[in-house]
């Protein structure tokens, strides 16, 4: 197998008394698209958010186990949470543009890390808006409020904003589910391009999307990892009966 970006080791998450992830152990390959599939409520979002230390923002949540990134456990006590979140980006299901201009949205992250020179920021903003496939639509109104964009454009803006802090891993949680088909397709093709430089983990409950995009597939059911492997194998020759049933559309 190629080099590994994230080694998930015995990861568990519980909301109060309800344990929603059980003992997940899996390696996420670098610069590939790994799709997490499974019926709704099986823990896909929780798994994704626990890979960038966002799961812990919910009150009363407990996370235990290890996620090893760049040789270090992101849950180790000495780990800087902000550093983890900078290097492992998360794109949410619904776009949330920050209450500022399009330009400032993309520049928000770089500014957090102390980049102040206008020329450098200009360059980052243009490059990331291009990478997200939004530049041509907004280049004449960079200083307009981001909230004025359509929802599909907002989602691409959020992608550009996430890319601007130069993460190594991109976590995408059903990022096309709120979008019209055309916008969804734009995001998909962007992600396929970005895979050359980024490790991408995406949650989807649209199986066709997983088939189109994924190199690896991880099937999650009731908080347990049921099956994991190269996309071709999982889709064409699932080993587990539950995977077969899910792929056959016997439950959602």
């Amino acid at each position: 197998m190629e080099d590994t970006a994230l080694q998930i080791r015995g990861l568990n998450v519980a909301y109060g008394d309800q344990q929603v992830l059980r003992d997940i152990t899996v390696d996420i390959p670098a610069r590939q698209i790994t799709a997490i599939i499974g019926p709704s409520g099986c823990g896909k979002t929780t798994l994704l958010r626990s890979l960038c230390r966002m799961a812990e923002l919910v009150e009363g949540v407990r996370v235990w186990g290890q996620v090893i990134f760049d040789g270090k456990d992101i849950y180790a006590p000495q780990t800087e949470v902000t550093e983890v979140r900078k290097r492992i980006g998360l794109l949410a299901q619904r776009p949330f543009p920050l209450p500022m201009s399009i330009y400032d949205n993309v520049a928000y992250g770089p500014r957090l890390y102390g980049i102040r020179q206008r020329a450098v920021l200009d360059e980052i903003v243009e490059r990331q808006l291009r990478a997200a496939g939004l530049w041509d639509e907004v280049k004449d109104r960079l200083h307009a409020p981001a909230s004025a964009l359509s929802i599909g454009q907002q989602q691409r803006l959020c992608l550009a904003r996430g890319l601007a802090v130069e993460p190594e891993v991109l976590l995408c949680d059903e990022v096309t589910s709120a979008l019209d088909p055309l916008s969804a397709q734009r995001i998909e093709s962007r992600l396929l391009e970005l895979k050359a430089n980024y490790t991408i983990v995406m949650v989807t409950h649209v199986l066709r999307q997983a088939r189109r995009m994924a190199d690896y597939v991880l099937f999650l059911y009731l908080g347990e990892l049921v099956e994991y492997g190269p996309a071709g194998e999982v889709f064409n020759n699932p080993r587990q009966a539950r995977t077969r049933a899910y792929l056959a559309g016997e439950f959602y």
Partner: protein, 293 residues
């Protein structure tokens, strides 16, 4: 329901008209503009300058807002963004309760603690240490001062600003907070750059709402400001706010010609300012909460 709402909505204009009607005789001897800026208050000589009372109101209100705004905003931010839910649920009800305490109780508390504290501690200290500053000169030995009024009023305004601002801040959707955190922002960077930015107009409205309560508040202030119709030159000087003028004199000196007209004019000024501020704050608040959610 509909008719009742209309009736309530019409109450304020009716009140304003009635006050205007009764204040009119005063406006016959001098135009309102001149009355507002004149500083002599000698009812027996038919001189009715409102400036000392307007100044008294402004002094007390400004001191109250200077004290209450930063503290209560910090509290609101802490409660909305940092405090665990348990603590917030524990602290909110008493804060809302504070807003409901009758103002005479605050006034009494002011007389018993704030006024002596200013008289015995703050004023003597200021005389030594700050006497050279223009607004700090202290030659009023009583402690009854615009500072006392401002402190008591500030404490009264505190819960109003906290609970409104806290609500506005909490109306900011979580997705926005998470968007900032996911980029590696610290919590404070997130609060400052994203949450407060989004909630800004609502937070301002909360302050203005507090301001409009402070502006018209009567009882508590009247008990501690000294009620001397002069232009205060220092925070230790006594003052005489508009509301205190009305409350102290209505029904007392009505035999003096035009006196009741003057009190009506004072009430009219107060009513207009409070209504305008409250309306602006309410409109801004509704929009801010709608925009945030």
């Amino acid at each position: 329901m509909w008719a009742l709402t209309l009736l309530v909505a019409l109450l304020v204009p009716f009140m304003a008209l009635a006050l205007l009607e009764r204040a009119r005789p005063l406006f016959d001897i001098a135009p309102p503009g001149r009355l507002l800026l004149a500083s002599e208050w000698r009812p027996l000589k038919q001189e009715f300058g409102f400036l000392p009372f307007i100044a008294g109101t402004l002094w007390v209100t400004l001191i109250a807002m200077l004290l209450a705004t930063p503290l209560s905003l910090l509290c609101a931010i802490y409660l909305a963004e940092y405090a665990p839910r348990r603590l917030r649920e524990l602290v909110k009800p008493p804060i809302d309760l504070l807003a409901g305490i009758p103002s005479v109780v605050y006034g009494l508390w002011g007389v018993l603690t704030i006024v002596p504290f200013i008289r015995e501690v703050v004023a003597p200290w200021a005389r030594e240490a700050l006497g050279f500053l223009p607004l700090m000169r202290s030659d009023n030995p009583t402690g009854y001062s615009v500072l006392a009024g401002g402190i008591v009023l500030g404490v009264m305004v505190f819960p109003v600003i906290i609970s409104t601002a806290e609500e506005v801040i909490r109306a900011v959707p979580n997705g926005l907070r998470e968007a900032a955190l996911a980029l590696g922002a610290t919590r404070w960077q997130m609060v400052k750059g994203v949450v407060l930015r989004r909630a800004l107009s609502g937070v301002i409205a909360a302050v203005v709402l507090g301001f409009s309560r402070a502006f018209g508040e009567t009882m508590a202030v009247m008990m501690v400001v000294g009620n001397v119709p002069q232009l205060p030159r220092s925070i230790f000087d006594a003052g005489y706010p508009l509301s205190a003028l009305i409350a102290n004199n209505y029904g007392e000196m009505m035999s003096i010609p035009l006196y009741d007209s003057a009190l009506m004019a004072a009430a009219l000024i107060l009513l207009i300012v409070v209504v305008v501020f409250t309306a602006l704050a309410r409109i801004a608040l509704i929009q801010a909460i709608r925009r945030a959610a």
